[in-house]
């Protein structure tokens, strides 16, 4: 039985690129400040080498790595559970059976709001924090999925149904 994987919104790719660009800009800011305050070891690593390395890393992360990460991100909702594929280098496929979901959370950061996307986090009683977070969803899709999941969970034909809140 194969799973029907769904890709996140295309704007999720731009979101990932902008996010990695922002982290690289922060590193650049630190480098520049250290250069002007004299902390930067000019004699050991000349500035042009650092600049070149920064540019290459920025190009690599923002262009190549972010889109690769986007390509490998996919989610699926089957009758039994929610699945999520993630990771460009370290791949991970996570599966949560529907009747183990404890609560569902809709999340949207400032940056995500600019790109018009949102995340949906699902929590189980298993170890570790946020258990399954689907990124790059349209806010409407996310809300719809959330309501749909919650109704499914609430209507489970479960003898211990009072135990799942």
């Amino acid at each position: 039985m194969s799973i029907a994987w769904l890709a996140p919104e295309p704007s999720y790719r731009s979101y990932l690129q902008v996010r990695s660009l922002i982290s690289m800009l922060i590193i650049a800011a630190i480098l520049i400040t250290s250069y002007f305050t004299g902390v930067y070891p000019k004699n050991v690593v000349p500035l042009w080498i650092a600049g070149l390395a920064w540019t290459l890393l920025t190009l690599f992360f923002s262009l190549f790595f972010a889109s690769r990460r986007f390509l490998f991100t996919a989610y699926a909702r089957t009758n039994e559970g929610v699945h999520l594929k993630q990771g460009a280098l370290f791949r991970r496929i996570r599966a949560v059976p529907l009747n183990r979901i404890q609560h569902v959370e809709y999340k949207q950061s400032f940056l995500e709001r600019l790109f018009g996307i949102a995340r949906l986090a699902m929590y189980t009683a298993g170890s570790g924090g946020a258990d399954l977070t689907i990124p790059g969803l349209l806010p409407d899709t996310a809300m719809q999925l959330k309501t749909e999941l919650l109704t499914t969970i609430a209507n489970e034909p479960d003898e211990g149904e009072s135990n799942h809140e």
Binding site: M1, N79, E80, R92, R94, A95, G128, G160
Partner: protein, 504 residues
């Protein structure tokens, strides 16, 4: 909801709150070390600051214990316990019996003359609250525990069915008493001395305690003493103190596990033990999330195992620190283990078909070792100028590490087994250990989420790790063929989703 009758705990419970505060101080003492350092710097000239602070702390502890007792109210309803606590921040806590994972009745030594107990219960929920009600009368505490662990109030028919099962199984009540000889074995198996030794050896070797202090002192006081026999005496003292520590560890387990009695009544498991303070831990089978079987080298020589049963522990799972109280049988011999397995619904040992790891799993760590060893040898030879002994030591270290890697690979195993006799239960089990043999058993239907993970190295070899997150912690099945791991993941998700039995 009917009227709640709020009750206050007896006055003696002030002592309980006092001890709780002091215990908190002891556990937090490492965090306070910077503060202590500051105090000592200030208090160098004026000793009264130290005494003042200590006195103020003591006064604070006493006053807060008295006030905590005054403001501690509890009420017992049919389906829940209500607590109202807090001096300034009032807290009202309602704990439903249904959510309780395990209950513990602790007859603390200073409560025993008054025939009072402390009742602690662990509840489920993300905060993983542990609730303690001190100063309950024994009968009341037992009655309360009975009610908490009774069949939970589930809709209609279900209740009768399980009640019937309960009465039927009452006949099959099992009581096991552990004699003193077994408890001494438990003390040897669970001897913290070996951990202590490993921690202590390094600082002791750095201190030169023997040469700087002990030898001069001995020479001063015993004129006939020459420095040659000082070493023998020193070694004698070291061995003697280790023996004392060893015996002390056994004494501790004799005190905590004195008169250990296990009672299994239907689905209810109960362990009672203790010489000074008597602890009674109980839980119901449906709350079980994991069974750990530990056999370290000493246990293997003594042919015993340590069996721990774990319930839902969000706090332990997140913080990584084991919960305060776990249902543990510290020494189980083979004959009783077979019986206990039956009670825990584990399949017999002979039915477990252990799956081994692929030899390719050895490749990664072996490669690292093989790369690292020449580097260290070169560094030692040229930079540290250690000569041939350095290279020989590296070689020996390399062989040792490689043997450990191979041993841990050889002893690793996993299996998916089901018990066929009713009540059936499906499990997955992971076995690991270098010199020890540890088995972790988890009920398969209680898995919370399943991951398939694959890094670049694993992708190259065509393997994946399968990580199973349960409510009692995570377990990794390493180096499964990728397709195998993914189909297992799907298969298990389907299986769990179709299983509508309660999991907690």
């Amino acid at each position: 909801m009917s009227e709640l009758t709020w009750q206050r705990t007896p006055l003696i419970t002030i002592a309980f709150f006092l001890f709780k505060q002091l215990k908190q101080l002891v556990t937090n003492i490492s965090n306070l070390i910077p503060a202590f350092a500051a105090i000592f710097v200030i208090g160098k000239d004026s000793v009264w600051v130290l005494f003042g602070l200590a006195g103020a702390y003591l006064l604070y502890v006493i006053i807060s214990a008295v006030l905590t007792q005054r403001f501690f109210l509890y009420a017992i309803a049919d389906d829940a316990v209500h607590l109202r606590t807090g001096i300034f921040n009032r807290k009202h806590l309602t704990l439903n019996y249904e959510r309780i994972q395990q209950a513990e009745i602790h007859q603390v030594w200073y409560f025993r003359p008054f025939k009072l107990t402390v009742l602690s219960v662990d509840s489920a929920g993300s905060a993983g609250k542990e609730v303690q009600i001190p100063g309950l009368k024994m009968e009341l505490a037992q009655d309360l525990r009975q009610r908490m662990l009774a069949e939970s109030v589930s809709p209609s028919g279900q209740r009768q069915e399980s009640a019937a099962a309960d009465t039927k199984e009452d006949a099959a009540r099992i009581t096991k008493h552990f004699p003193v000889a077994e408890i001494i074995r438990a003390g040897i198996i669970d001897n913290k001395l070996f951990v202590l030794l490993a921690v202590l050896i390094y600082p002791i070797s750095q201190l030169d305690l023997l040469e700087d202090y002990v030898v001069p002192w001995v020479q001063q006081h015993l004129a006939w003493f020459n420095s040659e026999s000082a070493w023998i005496i020193g070694a004698g003292i070291a061995v003697g103190s280790l023996a004392v520590l060893f015996l002390a560890a056994i004494a501790v387990s004799l005190l905590t596990y004195h008169d250990l009695t296990l009672t299994i009544e239907g689905e209810r498991f109960q362990a009672k033990s203790g010489a000074l303070s008597i602890r009674t831990l109980s839980f119901r089978y449906p709350k079980l999330q994991a069974v750990y079987v530990r056999r370290n080298l000493r246990a293997r020589l003594l042919q015993r195992s340590v069996v721990t049963v774990s319930q839902l522990q969000p706090r332990a799972a997140q913080g990584g620190n084991p919960a305060a109280q776990q249902f543990t049988l510290p020494v189980v011999d083979a004959a009783f283990f077979a019986e206990f397995r039956e009670q825990l619904r584990l399949p017999p040992a002979a039915e477990v078909n252990w799956q081994r790891l692929s030899p390719l799993a050895l490749l990664g760590s072996s490669l690292w070792l093989a790369l690292l060893a020449p580097v260290i040898a070169t560094l030692l030879f040229f930079a540290a100028e250690s000569g041939w002994p350095g290279i020989a030591a590296t070689l020996a270290g390399w062989i040792l590490m490689q043997t450990m890697v191979v041993l841990s690979w050889r002893n690793y195993g996993y299996s998916f087994v089901s018990r066929t006799t009713t009540p059936a239960e499906q499990w997955f089990v992971v076995r690991r250990g270098i010199f020890s043999r540890n088995e972790n058993w988890y009920p398969r239907r209680k898995v919370q989420q399943i991951d398939v993970q694959q890094g670049p190295w694993l992708r190259l070899l065509g393997f994946s790790h399968l990580i199973l997150h349960t409510a009692a912690g995570s377990e990794t099945l390493r180096y499964l063929p990728s397709e195998n791991a993914q189909s297992l993941q799907q298969q298990w998700v389907d299986e769990i989703a179709k299983n509508s039995h309660r999991w907690m």
